[in-house]
């Protein structure tokens, strides 16, 4: 990081910085040591608490919990991308009423906490006589919430394209739908790919909310194993394992985003967006982890 808030340190400053560094390391190490000691002191590191990881049955159950998480993620991601593309097109429509409806739907689903959405589909719909399942509630919630955020991302992407792109397409005699789907959206998606993937990281993390509507995903299983008396209730170890798995999955997705961003920059097909402001809105929010109006993964 080449931040220029400070000069290249001279000899005196270097000594001072080294001193600060030592103090910083000592403080952080002391904190970590304290936490590790507390784990150790309360017996979280005894072999008995970690034994469960050795059982073949537990391992395969853990694997299927990860698969359940990935299943909710994959379904949610595909539907959210479709939902986002459709409603982004709706918000960019020339017809006032389509714009109005799309805006209302997108704003509505972004203002409601994702957990409340999942509750609505899991506990609410049955009172109206619909049969639902936890997977259905989780996927529908993820789709509507993240789809709305993605719609805004796509819209900002389309707005950031040079106007000549649409004008040229119209000049060739294309229809509005053709212009949108064959010219504008593909470019917008390419330009917005890093932001889209960071939103998918949010979606992946949000699958953990499934735990609260009894969807048997990774966190649900970690909690279940952690409450087993037979394994001496290893809730601390199982939480640590679940956290490690989540972090690795999210980092892999983030790495994909970084890779695509780098490839994108090299590609000749990449068009530098002219509307820097639209880009800034999206990027500024990507820094916050989500798009305007408050994503951050609405939840987790």
């Amino acid at each position: 990081m080449n931040n220029v808030l400070f000069d290249v340190p001279g000899p005196k400053s270097r000594i001072r910085h080294r001193l600060y560094a030592v103090i910083g390391i000592v403080v952080v190490l002391a904190l970590i040591a304290f936490v590790v000691y507390s784990f150790y002191d309360s017996g979280q590191f005894t072999a008995q608490k970690w034994e469960w990881l050795q059982y073949a049955q537990v391992q395969s159950d853990l694997a299927s919990a990860v698969v359940a998480t990935l299943k909710a993620f994959a379904l949610g991601a595909v539907f959210a991308l479709i939902f986002g593309a459709v409603f982004a097109a709706g918000r960019l429509s020339d017809h006032g009423w389509i714009r109005g409806i799309s805006t209302a739907i997108v704003e509505f689903f972004r203002a409601i906490p994702l957990l409340i959405l999942m509750f609505l589909f899991y506990y609410g719909l049955p009172t109206l006589g619909f049969d639902t399942s936890p997977l259905f509630a989780v996927v529908l919630g993820l789709t509507l919430y993240n789809g709305s955020v993605l719609a805004e991302v796509f819209r900002a992407g389309v707005n950031s394209l040079p106007k000549g792109q649409a004008e040229a397409a119209y000049a060739l005699g294309m229809r509005k739908t053709q212009v949108m789907f064959t010219v504008l959206l593909p470019q917008a998606i390419r330009a917005m790919l890093p932001t889209i993937i960071s939103q998918l990281v949010v979606l992946l993390k949000d699958t953990a909310l499934g735990f609260l509507v009894t969807y048997p995903e990774l966190l649900y299983y970690a909690r279940y194993i952690g409450s087993q008396g037979a394994f001496a209730r290893p809730i601390v170890p199982s939480t640590i394992v679940a956290a490690a798995i989540y972090i690795v999955m999210c980092l892999l997705l983030t790495a994909l985003a970084t890779y695509l961003e780098r490839r994108n920059r090299r590609s000749k097909k990449h068009i530098e967006p002219t509307d820097r402001k639209a880009e800034q809105i999206v990027l500024g929010n990507a820094a916050g982890g989500q798009a305007f109006g408050g994503g951050l993964g609405g939840s987790s």
Binding site: L5, Y20, G24, P113, F119, K205, A222, T239, F292
Partner: protein, 215 residues
């Protein structure tokens, strides 16, 4: 309407708890997030590494998992016993700080380098440049994404309802015990959040107007 009126004793206090949770966690994460951002731009490489590690780990962990740790696992650790409410505040602060940090840092990047250079030319040290020149401008320029992050925090606070805190996210389970219609209750909760989010968006717009930096 009946579901709301019959259960006003639930909706009132529970939404108040939500607002309380939001307010405390918001202040906590603004302070802690700004400190993290300062670490991430400091001249000492070790401090930068500490900040980056924290943000990377926390941003890739589901908030539900953070909650699960503080509510289920932490009490086993004989450190300090905390209430469910405190555990929820800590979880939300730990999580939101990482996002606030990134917002503040993107704000610091919008401040022209010349400002820091001018500060150095006047003989200010790093702390003075950051505290008196750069941060005040940075914080003003990031009002919209900052409030977006706080809106997310507000919505995230519903997760506390799943972990034994009596706030808006928990209204549903009480309603179902009382035998009222859960669907209707949830729609009222949703409306409550739409109102709260609109208030924050309004604050965002007025702050944006008042605080926009002329450059």
């Amino acid at each position: 309407m009946d579901v709301l009126l019959n259960n006003l004793d639930l909706f009132g206090p529970f939404f108040l708890t939500t607002i309380e949770l939001f307010a405390i966690a918001a202040v906590g994460s603004l302070v802690f997030g700004t400190i993290l951002a300062m670490l991430r731009v400091s001249p000492v490489p070790v401090f930068r590494a500490i900040g980056t590690t924290y943000v990377t780990i926390v941003r890739n962990t589901p908030l539900t998992l953070v909650f699960a740790f503080f509510v289920f696992a932490y009490p086993l650790l004989n450190i300090v016993k905390v209430s469910y409410f405190t555990a929820a505040v800590v979880s939300l602060t730990v999580y939101t700080s990482a996002f606030i940090c990134e917002v503040v840092r993107s704000g610091i990047n919008t401040v022209p380098v010349g400002q820091a250079e001018a500060g150095r030319a006047l003989g200010l040290n790093f702390g003075q440049i950051l505290g008196q020149v750069v941060l005040p401008q940075a914080l003003r320029s990031v009002v919209p994404p900052m409030i977006s992050t706080l809106i997310a925090l507000l919505k995230n606070s519903t997760i506390a309802g799943g972990f034994s805190v009596s706030e808006a996210g928990a209204i549903r389970s009480y309603i179902s015990e009382r035998g009222d219609n859960q669907m209707v209750a949830l729609l009222w909760v949703a409306l409550g959040f739409i109102i709260l989010v609109s208030v924050l968006s309004f604050v965002q717009r007025s702050l944006e107007k008042r605080w926009s930096v002329a450059r």
